[in-house]
């Protein structure tokens, strides 16, 4: 089977060949376990490495914190991609998360960070449920477009409701306390880094489990065969709605973190190019694996920040070319490249050779 299959996300394709040649349940389980362990190991290593960042590369802390925050939103996009749907409006939930924090922190000075996060989860979840009820009727391009329309309405309101939202300059998010502690800037940077890291790791684990649960597998079924889904007694709409709310909440969490790190919520967070950026990163990182969301974000942000060093005012050019190259030659994104380079894909996808 060709890797350039019609399928966007070739992990299924790869596992197809693989599974076809691995009919023995016992060995298969063994390998699955082996692969799981290897992935768990990688997860732990990455987690530990990230945990020591403030001590080793202290000046990159904020950069990585912002990347992780955005990565959380990309993780949300990943869930929808699982159902074959792409939203060009999810930046809206990102902005909702940030604005929830902005409103609360200007109403109550010295409010606790955890309350802000809770508010962002609630706000983006409720918004996701309400909008989701409408948009889950749509599939494909229309799904993307209706989401775009909702987010543009929201964006326009943020810009227009000047006296409430501060218009295009946005709202300041004052530094919250953490568990009642007042923090100075340097302490806050470290503290929020660890909070973000904690949420990122937790979300990765939850999403990882969710996508493998019956509900998550049903998302894939939305992509492959809604008719059969109906005929096993499940509403494709509600399956998608579940995924949609989860993705909205992840974007909301990403937004509140980004807002707190930057100290600002702006309408720009909700603009359509931001939504596209999230999808862009998901494709860049590779939609097949949760690691892609974060890897993609770090690369994206790094290119954007350091492209200027290579060629003045060229980050869009460089990123655009990178994405085209990835889509044409490695449609599985960085995750696929990584697997190709390390050979880890074999273990992961259970080809017979892997166990040997």
């Amino acid at each position: 089977m060709s890797r350039k299959s019609l399928d966007a996300f070739p992990d299924h394709a790869v596992s197809a060949t693989a599974a076809a040649e691995a009919p023995w349940p016992v060995r298969r389980r063994h390998r699955e376990k082996y692969a799981m362990n290897k992935e768990l190991l990688a997860f732990i290593i990455v987690a530990v490495l990230l945990a020591v960042v403030p001590f080793t590369f202290g000046t990159s802390t904020t950069f990585i914190a912002m990347s992780l925050a955005k990565g959380l939103a990309v993780l949300g996009i990943l869930i929808l991609l699982r159902a074959g749907q792409v939203s060009f409006g999810h930046a809206m939930y990102f902005a909702i998360g940030a604005y929830a924090a902005a409103f609360l922190s200007s109403a109550f000075r010295g409010i606790d960070m955890l309350l802000l996060i809770g508010a962002a989860i609630l706000a983006s979840g409720v918004a996701g449920a309400i909008v989701g009820i409408f948009v889950t009727r749509y599939r494909g391009i229309f799904f993307g477009m209706v989401n775009l329309a909702f987010s543009m309405v929201f964006y326009s309101i943020l810009e227009k409701a000047f006296h409430i939202t501060g218009g295009s300059d946005g709202m300041r998010i004052r530094r919250p306390t953490l568990l009642g502690m007042e923090l100075k800037r340097a302490e806050f940077d470290i503290a929020i880094y660890y909070v973000i890291l904690l949420f990122a790791l937790l979300s990765v684990w939850l999403v990882w489990r969710y996508l493998r649960s019956p509900m998550g597998e049903a998302l894939r079924a939305v992509k492959s065969n809604e008719t059969r889904l109906e005929y096993v007694g499940l509403s494709a709409k509600s399956v998608l709605l579940g995924g949609y709310i989860a993705s909205a909440v992840l974007c909301g969490i990403g937004g509140v973190f980004m807002g707190m790190v930057q100290g600002l919520a702006t309408p720009e967070h909700a603009f359509w190019t931001r939504s596209s950026e999230l999808v862009f990163i998901a494709a860049l990182g590779g939609p097949a694996h949760v690691a892609g969301a974060f890897g993609g974000t770090v690369v994206f942000e790094a290119v954007r920040t350091y492209a200027a060093a290579l060629l003045d005012d060229s980050w869009q050019l460089i990123l655009g070319v990178t994405l085209i190259v990835i889509i044409l030659w490695a449609p599985g994104g960085m995750v696929e490249l990584f697997r190709r380079l390390t050979g880890l894909d074999r273990a992961k996808t259970l080809t017979p050779e892997a166990g040997r």
Binding site: F134, M145, L148, A149, F150, S276, A283, V321
Partner: protein, 301 residues
């Protein structure tokens, strides 16, 4: 507020809708045939505008007859459409027709980013303008209000000509009929031997030409600034989606709807002006998921 404001708003709306239609029609045509929602359409719009402005400025600066700026608008658009559109289709889009639609969308987004950047590198960031054609046509007065003939006569005329020319082309020429056949049923059309590669190429180039033409014809009325493509593309998405993707006549109707609604907003409630197109799109799609004129396709089991 004069009691005639409705007439004025209508006139303003029509002028604006004409430009919207010119851009959206290319987008919707390309989607109808290729099944690709081309985000780079906005960049083609912007580059068409820049090229037309550069050409027009050059003509004026070198003392040519200023009326030559009119053909320059069309020439600029055609050059951009054929050269840039043709290259994009041949070297990039042809490679992705078999890929997932999400990836197709992302490729066009990547092209959009690249073109935005190139555009900045070529034309810089200072606003460009070339209003010679607008000045040449002068004003006409209506209910005591001066309008530019270019906006209330020339642009709507251009839009109508494009609409009917496109209809004629699709209904009464061989290649047009093939394009239409592919729009209606891609598989059936290819199975009866229509050369899809050629049809795709032609369609994309035509669509690109329309985008560039929209930009070129907008040039005399506006200042060309970076980021103009990003704004235009969402607006033309709104027009195309409201009509139903792939609906050409429908795009004319929804462009008119959005244009007039926006103009009324400026008179009645200026704060709503910006939200109007998206509000219309959301409302229409909530009631009619496939757009005003889109067809519902039930799956056969």
């Amino acid at each position: 507020m004069t009691p005639n404001f409705a007439v004025l708003a209508l006139l303003d709306g029509i002028a604006y809708a004409s430009l919207l239609f010119l851009v959206a029609v290319g987008l919707t045509l390309v989607f109808g045939v290729l099944g690709i929602l081309n985000i780079a359409h906005g960049s083609l719009y912007a580059i068409g505008a820049y090229v037309a402005a550069t050409l027009g400025q050059w003509l004026v600066a070198n003392g040519y007859n200023p009326w030559l700026t009119f053909p320059a608008l069309f020439a600029g658009a055609t050059v951009v459409g054929i050269a840039l559109g043709g290259m994009l289709e041949r070297f990039l889009l042809q490679r992705i027709y078999k890929k997932d639609e999400v990836l197709q969308l992302l490729v066009t987004f990547a092209v959009f980013m690249i073109l935005e950047n190139l555009q900045r590198m070529i034309w810089g960031v200072q606003p460009y303008f070339m209003s010679t054609p607008l000045n040449l046509l002068g004003n006409i007065s209506f209910l005591g209000i001066n309008y530019t003939a270019y906006q209330v006569l020339f642009l709507p005329a251009a839009a109508i000509v494009v609409l009917f020319a496109l209809r004629h082309f699709l209904r009464h020429t061989a290649i047009g009929a093939q394009i239409l056949a592919v729009t209606e049923d891609r598989e059936a059309a290819t199975s009866i031997g229509i050369n899809a590669t050629r049809v795709y190429f032609m369609t994309f180039v035509i669509g690109a030409c329309f985008a560039a033409l929209g930009g070129a014809l907008a040039t005399p009325t506006t200042s060309l600034v970076t980021g103009m493509g990003a704004n235009m593309i969402v607006l033309s998405f709104a027009v195309a989606a409201t009509a139903g993707l792939g609906q050409i006549e429908g795009a004319a109707v929804s462009a008119l709807m959005i244009g007039v609604a926006r103009a009324f907003a400026v008179y009645l409630s200026p704060e709503l002006e910006v939200i109007m197109p998206y509000l219309i799109m959301v409302l229409v799609l909530l009631v009619k998921p496939n757009g005003l004129f889109g067809k519902d396709t039930a799956r056969k089991i």
